[in-house]
């Protein structure tokens, strides 16, 4: 630097330094070439895979769900091709605008729009949220055309679950719906995030989820970065789920559900020989068809506010005091204890035990009463007297043997099994001594006794056959035979005859006689008191204070084939129950005659169950507006319903302190039923 600069020294510097620059340029060039060679050749495989996974998108095709068939092979749940629209919130840019636009395109009401917003809010970002299914082609096309403005909205042709008899099978079969966040956490499979995929949420749909589900199909498509499909590359068809065949007789199920009409109750019919459950109807019910896109707030409010708990399957989760329907079983216990059926007890309208009088329902008394008369006239005093002699334990054992407090091996989510009290149980539960009035209560099916309608139907079947009949719900084609109950032929015939006399003789349910030649139905009425005589007479007044009406039956009485039970909640007495049993059995034996009776009734009620439910929905919707709280997600729904059901049938906290005083009419309301 100290050397003086000249033009030529600067030229030298330039030459030297420009050579450095040139070398630098060359160096960078070599570096770039090497780098590119490394990426394109050495790492080629890795990047080729990444480019391919960019380009190709694997879309799952939700499998068609297996059908649920009745015993004749007709579908109780099938699939219907339809147009539907779903949203994946993650892919939506402007959620608010999208909802507004969709609501406009699909002409949603304000309530439906709010329900959609709720569903979107509750869902995880990556989850598929159904917007609407069962669209007509015009609306479907309208959404499809606007698709570029609606990223994340997926209109597609898909299958939706279809229940031809709707509310009739609601409790039994359950319903399907889009997987919830919890269900995905439990089973984190990509299929659960696929638009249009539904899984079983309740009932048999849930129990047989894995059988019914099937294998998803797959479609490999070439997509752009924004997700637009360029072309199909390859498609693998889905494999439809396996069908599940039930022992249920579809038409009978539907008939029974419709025959229950306005009442809140259940009908169970089973085949005594095979144990096949032919009908498990529970009403009021919900329409599973309208549940598959999530339950709207109107529907949910309407169902949950209804005091008749349409969300509860009363066949399995309704527990009722069996009332007098337990008497044939108690009779069996007495026979088993060596009591001569011909021995009579004098009924003068009450029985004095110590310094107390226990009343018979018939205040005038039944006079001299043997076991047969005690059954067909439902004499309370006879059973009070005989039970004092045998004590409670043999009676409790018989009740359990005939199906009470038993949980059956059935593919159902939840069975409430009820209570058969005995001295030991009371000591354990309440720490109190068993009293005479406890036995009195138990022999007439009151007090602590609780059973569900399925148990009552099994009781009827076992009384009819004297075999340990076990119910089944899935038709697997196997022959079944049941062990006998160790009962003499003589006693079996005796009780059968007594139960036949209930209907066909001088009994309490003369109007239950079948309008069919040559077939006689046997049965036993029961009236379960809900509140004491001092509060209500059991027939009028507030609905929830009225007596439950019960009826167990089998037919033909001398060679039983079918058995069952009918329970009408707060029906005002057994008179509400046995006409239902009569009509259901009539339909079984002579469908034409049965339907005629039903049509006459439905004319009075104003349409079929489905029609009435639809009308009720409309009325409710018009009255309510948007101010209703949103429906909870399905899982909570199931939990809530269970909790409610349980609390509704919980055993009393305090032990009962006295005998139930039966009302002085065993079959009230029979005259009010206009059949």
């Amino acid at each position: 630097m100290e050397t003086p600069h000249t033009a030529s020294s600067l030229k030298d510097t330039f030459d030297r330094r420009s050579f450095v620059i040139g070398a630098g340029i060359g160096g960078v060039g070599v570096l770039l070439a090497a780098r590119m060679g490394y990426i394109a050749v050495a790492e080629n495989e890795r990047y080729a895979v990444e480019a391919e996974s960019n380009r190709v998108n694997l879309t799952l095709i939700p499998p068609r769900r297996g059908w649920i068939l009745d015993r004749n092979g007709s579908p109780l749940a099938s699939n219907r091709a339809d147009f539907r629209v779903d949203i994946v919130p993650e892919r939506v840019k402007d959620l608010d605008g999208t909802v507004t636009m969709l609501a406009d395109l699909l002409s949603f009401t304000e309530i439906e729009t709010q329900d959609l917003r709720d569903r979107l809010e509750a869902a995880a970002r990556f989850q598929v949220v159904p917007v609407q299914s069962g669209l007509d082609f015009e609306k479907f096309a309208a959404v499809s055309v606007r698709l570029p403005e609606l990223p994340g909205v997926i209109p597609q042709r898909a299958f939706s679950r279809y229940y031809p008899t709707g509310p009739s099978v609601g409790h039994l079969i359950g319903y399907v719906g889009a997987p919830s966040r919890e269900e995905y956490d439990e089973e984190p499979k990509p299929l659960l995030l696929t638009p249009g995929f539904k899984l079983g949420k309740d009932g048999l749909e849930k129990q047989f989820e894995q059988t019914l589900r099937g294998d998803p199909g797959a479609r490999r498509v070439e997509v752009t970065a924004s997700g637009r499909i360029v072309r199909d590359l390859e498609t693998r068809d889905d494999v439809q789920g396996q069908p599940v065949r039930l022992t249920i007789d579809g038409p009978l199920q539907d008939y029974a559900a419709r025959r229950l009409g306005h009442e809140s109750g259940s009908v169970v019919v089973m085949d005594c020989l095979s144990g096949d459950l032919l009908c498990m109807a529970s009403m009021p019910s919900f329409d599973p068809n309208s549940f598959s896109d999530g339950i709207g707030r109107i529907e949910y409010s309407m169902l949950s506010e209804n005091e008749r708990v349409p969300l509860r399957n009363k066949v399995l989760q309704g527990l009722y005091p069996p009332g007098s329907t337990v008497k044939p079983t108690v009779g069996m216990a007495l026979l088993g204890q060596g009591i001569d059926p011909d021995e009579t007890v004098f009924c003068g309208g009450g029985l004095r035990v110590g310094n107390r009088v226990f009343r018979c329902w018939n205040r005038r008394g039944h006079g001299h009463t043997d076991l047969a008369k005690a059954i067909y006239q439902s004499c309370d005093v006879y059973f009070y007297a005989m039970a004092q002699r045998t004590g409670m334990p043999p009676i409790a054992d018989a009740c359990k043997q005939y199906g009470m407090q038993q949980q059956f091996e059935l593919p159902v989510l939840n069975q409430f099994y009820g209570t058969v009290p005995d001295p030991e149980w009371k000591q354990r539960k309440y720490g109190r001594e068993w009293q005479a009035f406890d036995t009195v209560n138990a022999t007439i099916g009151q007090g602590y006794m609780l059973a569900n309608p399925l148990q009552l139907a099994v009781m009827a079947a076992r009384l009819a056959t004297a075999e340990m009949v076990e119910p089944r719900l899935i038709l697997d084609g196997s022959e079944r035979s049941f062990p006998g109950m160790g009962l003499s032929e003589e006693y079996k015939t005796y009780v059968r005859q007594a139960m036949s006399d209930v209907v066909n003789g001088p009994g309490t349910a003369g109007r239950a006689r079948l309008p069919v030649d040559d077939v006689l139905m046997a049965g036993k009425t029961g009236t379960a008191q809900v509140v004491g005589l001092n509060i209500s007479d059991g027939r009028t007044g507030p609905w929830e204070w009225r007596d439950h009406g019960l009826f167990i039956f089998f037919a033909p009485f001398d060679e039983p084939r079918y058995a069952g039970a009918v329970v009408i909640e707060h029906g005002g007495g057994s008179g509400a129950a046995y006409p239902v049993a009569r009509d259901v059995m009539t339909f079984m034996l002579n469908p034409q005659k049965g339907l005629e009776a039903l049509h006459r009734l439905e004319e009075q009620w104003g349409g079929t169950a489905q029609e009435r439910l639809d009308r009720q929905y409309l009325q409710y919707a018009n009255a309510a507006g948007v101010d209703l709280p949103p429906a909870p997600p399905p899982i909570t729904l199931a939990r809530e319903v269970d909790a409610e059901a349980r609390s509704a049938v919980a055993e009393p906290d305090a032990p009962s302190t006295d005998a139930v005083t039966p009302r002085d009419q065993a079959n009230p309301r029979a005259d009010e039923i206009n059949t």
């Binding site: 630097m1 003086p4 600069h5 000249t6 033009a7 020294s9 600067l10 030229k11 510097t13 330039f14 030459d15 330094r17 420009s18 620059i21 040139g22 340029i25 060359g26 960078v28 060039g29 770039l32 070439a33 780098r35 590119m36 060679g37 990426i39 394109a40 050749v41 790492e43 080629n44 890795r46 990047y47 080729a48 990444e50 480019a51 391919e52 960019n54 380009r55 070439e222 997509v223 752009t224 970065a225 924004s226 360029v230």
Partner: protein, 373 residues
């Protein structure tokens, strides 16, 4: 010049050595743009070719300018572009946002682009006029530093980091070749090392900081800024040795590659033409830059030498930064690839550089003959 080859003088003097590789590159670029437009000449390929035609004529016209015009114009041009930069800044400030261009009728002029050749021109003129003995004095460093710092500051305010660096690079190369003491460059390098983190934390806008951090770790933001680099590497890497074939690049055709026709045109090309296509592009750039350096080394005077070398360095900077960016070796700074990327401003700048080089090449031929006559 032998008599046997009796080509007309104009054809003989036509700068074939640069125009042939240039046309090849433009044609290849047009083919890639055709593919990037989904197999269509419009809108990219056609305008790319038309622009090149117009700017080539402009460059050829430029090449006939005598040296004293160039020297005389140096400072006025520099000041004019500086004023334009200030004007852009003012308009942007009044419009309530950043703006980089001025509308001239149908043309959109980006003054920061013009500053790249202008800074080289003004520095070459300055050093040519600086007495030789003063090259070691403070004047030799202070005034050029101001000349470089002014536009750098203005462009950085836009903010446009890529162009700022391009101006700095062009200026630094001229200073280096002008014979400034090496200690300035060593010192400057150390200063830059210290200043870089400070500039990173205080000088860069948020989005620019993110680009740098993502460059250092592309996986940290695979769907945001890292997406560009990742997708570009996937495009180049999946092309392999010979590429997927013309119009068959899934990355560019299906929109996974961002900006497939501008900044990432090389990735678009590499996906369809593979390593061979990439080496061809590198080779052509090598030919053009080698020609530029030869022109500079053959130049007869200080002004032409510095001008030619500076222009070559400016083109080189574009090429190097763009290619390093698409290969994941530099942050995403938004510098297009000369002669291949679609875009008028960068084509104009690069053709001005080429025009200046052709001008120097013509001076090189004329000077000896004029001195002889």
């Amino acid at each position: 010049m032998s008599q046997a080859v009796s080509l007309p003088r104009s054809i003989q003097e036509f700068p074939w050595r640069v125009v042939v590789p240039l046309v090849a590159l433009i044609a290849f670029g047009a083919a890639v743009l055709h593919s990037a437009a989904g197999g269509s000449f419009s809108p990219y390929a056609s305008s790319h070719i038309i622009r090149f035609g117009l700017f080539l004529i402009m460059a050829l016209v430029m090449s006939y300018f005598p040296q004293n015009w160039a020297k005389f114009a140096a400072f006025p041009v520099y000041i004019a572009v500086l004023l334009l930069l200030i004007a852009v800044e003012t308009i942007g400030a009044m419009g309530g946002g950043s703006q980089r261009w001025i509308e001239f009728g149908p043309m959109r002029l980006q003054p920061s682009e013009l500053m790249k050749p202008a800074i080289v021109l003004v520095l070459a003129a300055y050093f040519a006029s600086l007495p030789i003995g003063m090259i070691a004095s403070a004047r030799a460093i202070v005034i050029p530093a101001i000349l470089i710092a002014l536009p750098m500051g203005l462009v950085l305010m836009q903010p446009d980091l890529g162009t700022t660096l391009a101006i700095a690079f062009g200026g630094a190369v001229v200073l280096f070749l002008a014979g400034l003491s090496a200690k300035w460059f060593i010192g400057g390098g150390i200063a830059a090392l210290i200043a870089a983190p400070i500039a990173f934390f205080f000088g860069l806008a948020d989005y620019q900081q993110r680009r740098v951090t993502t460059f250092l770790d592309p996986e940290s933001d695979p769907l945001g800024a890292g997406y560009h680099i990742t997708q570009s590497k996937i495009a180049i890497g999946s092309g392999g040795l010979t590429g997927k074939g013309f119009g068959e690049g899934s990355q560019s055709q299906l929109d996974y590659l961002p900006e497939p026709h501008t900044d990432f045109v090389f990735a678009t090309m590499a996906e369809e033409w593979g390593l061979l296509g990439g080496l061809l592009v590198l080779l052509i750039f090598g030919m053009i830059l080698r020609w530029g350096l030869i022109v500079a080394r053959e130049a007869q005077d200080r002004f032409s030498r510095l001008l030619a070398a500076g222009m070559t360095a400016t083109i080189f900077f574009y090429v190097a930064v763009n290619l390093m960016m698409v290969m994941g070796m530099a942050p995403v700074v938004g510098i297009p690839l000369p002669f291949m990327s679609h875009g008028g401003s960068s084509m104009l700048t690069n053709m001005i550089c080429i025009g200046a080089l052709m001008m120097v090449e013509r001076w090189n031929r004329q000077r000896p003959s004029s001195e002889l006559s």
